[in-house]
Symmetry: none
Subunit: 209 residues, 4 copies
Amino acid sequence: MEDKKTQLVHRRREEILTAAKHIFAKNGFRRTKIGEIAAHLSVGKGTLYRYFKDKKSLFLAVFEQGMAGLRQAMRANIEPIIDPKNKISAAVRTYFEFFDNDRELVEILMQVRSEFKDDYRRVFLALYSDYIVKIQENLRVSVKTGVFRKLDVEKTAEAISATLHGVLQSFYVREFGPETAVPDVEKLTDRTEAVTALLLKGLLKTDSA
Amino acid sequence: MEDKKTQLVHRRREEILTAAKHIFAKNGFRRTKIGEIAAHLSVGKGTLYRYFKDKKSLFLAVFEQGMAGLRQAMRANIEPIIDPKNKISAAVRTYFEFFDNDRELVEILMQVRSEFKDDYRRVFLALYSDYIVKIQENLRVSVKTGVFRKLDVEKTAEAISATLHGVLQSFYVREFGPETAVPDVEKLTDRTEAVTALLLKGLLKTDSA
Amino acid sequence: MEDKKTQLVHRRREEILTAAKHIFAKNGFRRTKIGEIAAHLSVGKGTLYRYFKDKKSLFLAVFEQGMAGLRQAMRANIEPIIDPKNKISAAVRTYFEFFDNDRELVEILMQVRSEFKDDYRRVFLALYSDYIVKIQENLRVSVKTGVFRKLDVEKTAEAISATLHGVLQSFYVREFGPETAVPDVEKLTDRTEAVTALLLKGLLKTDSA
Amino acid sequence: MEDKKTQLVHRRREEILTAAKHIFAKNGFRRTKIGEIAAHLSVGKGTLYRYFKDKKSLFLAVFEQGMAGLRQAMRANIEPIIDPKNKISAAVRTYFEFFDNDRELVEILMQVRSEFKDDYRRVFLALYSDYIVKIQENLRVSVKTGVFRKLDVEKTAEAISATLHGVLQSFYVREFGPETAVPDVEKLTDRTEAVTALLLKGLLKTDSA
DNA sequence: AATGAATGAGTGTTCATTCAT
DNA sequence: AATGAATGAACACTCATTCAT
C-alpha cells in the first residue's frame, strides 16, 4: 500500500515535470505562470506546491532531469566503446542525437543559464564533471598509447566539451525555436561528421611526406 | 555650438551605456532597476528615457555596442594576416583576449540570449555573419591550396565559431562571475594554445611517415 | 454548495461596486487609487482584479449598475400610468427623486462623460434609448388624441429628456458635491413642479377659444 | 514702444489659446501634453509657462475665453430685443448657433466639468449669473405684464437655462465628436424651433376662454 | 525672452505563494 | 490531499514643471 502510494507520487511527479518542461520551453521561465502548468495538468496550483517547493525548484528539477538523461545516454553509448577515436565520434553523435530528440530541453538549458547562474553552475558541474573526467581519461590513455598527439589534457578536454555545447547553441540560435514551422529540415546530427572530423583531424592537411 | 551639443549628447550616451553595462552585468536584466542605473549616474530616471526608449532598448544597445567592439577587434587583428593557420590562431587569441578584457560583456551576452531570443538572433546574425563568411573564405581557399584538408566548409566554419563560443561559456560558468574574488587567476587566454592546436591539428597523432 | 459560492461571489461583487462608487464619487476617477478602494474593503488589491478586469471596467460597472437602476425606476413608476400629463410629471419626479437618493451616482455620471466618452455614448444610448422611445410614443399618441399640441416628436422628445439632464447638471454644479456640508437643504425634487409645469404647459393644447 | 510690446504679448497669448483649445478639444485635458501644444506653435515649452502658470490655468483660460464669447454673443443678440417671446427664441437660437460654430469649445466644456469641478463652478457661476439674471428679469416682467403665466421665476429660469445645456449635451453625445466624419449633417440649430416651442408654449399664458 | 534638457513623483497591474476549507 | 481565492510586493514609464544657458 505504501508502495502504491509512493508509486503514485512518483508518477505524478513525472507528469508535472513533463508538463512543466513543455510550458517552460514554450514560454520561458519568466513568462510561464504556475497556473498555466496547473491548468495543463488539470490540477490546482496548490498541488504543484506539494511536489515542488517553488517555481524555481520546479524549473531546476526539469533541468536536472534533462541533464541526468544526457548523462545516462552518454554513459550508455560511450562507455562500451574502446577505440579512442570511436569514443570521440560516439560522444559527438550521442550528444547531438540526444538534443535532436529533446528540443524542449535545449530551450530549458538556454534559459537556466541566465536565470539561475549559480544553480546552473552547480548542476552543470555536478553532472558534467564525471563526463569530462571520462574525456580526460580517454585523452590521457590515448596520448600514452600514441593514438592521440601530445596535448594539454585538461584544457583540451574542456575544449572538446565546449565545442559540443557551442555547436548546440549556434545551431539553436539559427535553426531552433519552438515556433519554427519546419523544425526537422535541419538537424544537429547533420553536424556529426564535420565536428568529429574537426576534433579528430583538425584543419590541417596531414598527408605530409 | 551644434557640434558641442552633439558631442555632449554622445558623451552622455556613452556614460549611460557604461553604467548600464555595469549594473546589468552585476544583477542581470530582470533584477536591474532603471532607477539603480540612474542613481549610479546621479541623474534622474527620465534622463535615461531621453536617450533610450525603454529598459530593453538600453540593454540591447549595451549588447550591440559590445558586439560591434568584438567585430572591430576581430577585423583589426585577423584581416592583415595572410597565413591561414595564423589567421585561425589569431582569431582564437583575439576572441579570448577580447572577452578577458570585458568580462561584463560576457554576462550581458549570456543574459541576452534567454531574455531576448529574437533580438539576440537578429544582432547575432547581423554582426557575426560577415565574420563567419571570413572563416568560410579562409577554409575554401586553404582547402584549394592544399593547406587544409578536404572538409565541409559551411559546417566546419560553424563548428570553429561554435568552439570559440563554447569555450567562452564553459570558462564563464566555471571561472567568471563578477563576484569572483580573484578573477585574474585564470584567463581565457590560457586556452589559446590548446584550442588553436585542437582546431588546427585535431586529436590524432599525425606522425605519418 | 455551488449556490453558496455563487452567492458569495455575487455579494462580494456588490460590495466592491458599492465601495468603488463611494470612492470614485469622492475623488473622481483619476485621483482614485485602486488601493484605496481595496483598503476601504479591507481586502488586497488583487481581489478587486479577480472581479473586475481593470480600474476602468470597475468604474464603468458602477456606472452601468447605476443606469440600470435608473431605468428600472423609470419603468416601474411611469409605465403603469396612463394619463399622458401624469406620465410626464411622473417621469420628472422619478428622475429627480432617483438622483436625490443617489448623489454619488451623479458624480459618477459627470465623470464618465469626459473620461470615457465612447463608453459613455455606448451605455448611454443602450440604456436610454428605450426610455426615449417611450417618450416618443407618449408624444405621438397624445398628439393624435389631441391632448398635446402638434409638435416634432423626435426633437421634442429629445428636448424633454435633455431638460431633465440639464436640470440635474445645473443643480449638481451649484448644490451638490459630496463635500457639501448640508446636502439636504435643497433637493432636486424641489424642481419637480416648476419643470413639469414648464414642460406641460408647452405640451398641452392651448385650447384657447 | 510699450504699446507694441503689450500688443505682441496679447497676440501671442491669443495664439496660444487657439492652439491649446484645438489640442485640448482633440485629445482631452489628460492626454494633452504641454509639449504638443508648444510643438504646434513651434515654440519651446518654457514659453507657454511665461504666459500661463500651468497646464490647468491654460485649460481654464481656454474655457473662460469661450464662455466670455458666449456671454458676449448672448448679450449682443438678446438685449436689443424687447418682445419677451422673441427674447426667449433669440436666446435659444444664439446659444445653439454659438456652439454650432465652435464645436471645440463644447468638448472643452464637457471636459472642464469633471476635471475641475470647483473651477467649473466658479467660472460657470461667474459668467452665467448675469445671463440667468437676465432671464429672471424677463420672466418677472412678462409675468407681471401677463404675457407669461404665473410661475416660479428662479426655478423656471434655471430650468430654461438647463434645457439649453441639456440639449447641447444630448446632441453632443450623439452627433458630435471631433472624429465625426460628417459633422455638418445635423446641427444644433435644427433644434431651435422645437426647443423654442417647448419653452414658449409653456410660458405663454393660455388665456383660454 | 526663449529654450528644452533634466527631473522624479506617482500608480495600475501581475502573479508566485499561502492557507482556509 | 487537493483546491483556488486571496494576497500584496514590486516596478517601468510618463510628463508637468523648472531653470541653466
